[in-house]
């Protein structure tokens, strides 16, 4: 089936990410201070809703894109996964050796790392095919 990009969901993704950051800033202080465990869980997981929706929109955009755009996304995602895997592997080794002290909250850096490396890879790979990324 022929596929092409018909809509640009970037503004909706940006809006959802703003909602995510806003919720994090608003809810996080309450999540740290509240004593009720179910409420704490809800407060911590609530920002996942806009983030998950944004990821869904990105996935749908990739599905609707044409074959070259899908190739660019695939290569960019492979590079981003490799960078993130290597970074977490190195951090894990350094932590196990006692060189680095890492806590559970450091896992929050995995998504930003994969997002940034994906965006950079997408731009570089897109330029290789004569466009400014997908």
């Amino acid at each position: 089936m022929p596929r092409t990009r018909r809509t640009d969901p970037r503004h909706r993704v940006m809006l959802l990410m703003c909602v995510f950051v806003g919720l994090m800033f608003f809810l996080w202080p309450h999540a740290r201070t509240t004593t009720s465990m179910p409420l704490k869980t809800v407060l911590v997981l609530l920002p996942i809703v806009p983030m998950g929706t944004a990821l869904w929109l990105i996935a749908m955009d990739i599905v609707r894109s044409d074959e070259l755009q899908q190739r660019v996304h695939l290569i960019a995602m492979s590079i981003a996964s490799g960078i993130t895997a290597a970074a977490t592997f190195i951090a894990g080794f350094l932590c196990a050796a006692g060189v680095l002290v890492l806590g559970g909250d450091d896992l929050m850096f995995v998504l930003p790392l994969i997002s940034v490396s994906y965006a950079a890879s997408n731009l570089v790979v897109g330029r290789r095919y004569g466009s400014a990324g997908c």
Binding site: P2, R3, T4, R5, Q69, Y129, G130
Partner: protein
């Protein structure tokens, strides 16, 4: 792989956007095919051939890969 896409498009006075619209791909994809940076899949090559009412081999020319 070499191709005559630009030549055929110019003959019909189509812009890359016009061709992209007819092929249901992005303008970037048409540009990448024309400049030889991307070889289209077989279904897309068939769509291109059908649009220009030509055969695939009269539009696309194998490069060194096939002559090895």
């Amino acid at each position: 792989m070499k191709n005559r896409l630009r030549e055929l498009r110019d003959k019909r006075a189509w812009s890359q956007g016009d061709l992209a619209e007819q092929l249901e791909v992005s303008r970037q994809t048409v540009n990448a095919i024309e400049t030889g940076k991307y070889d289209p899949s077989l279904p897309l090559a068939f769509r291109i051939a059908r649009l220009f009412r030509m055969t695939i081999e009269s539009i696309f020319e194998p490069g060194r890969d096939l002559n090895r």
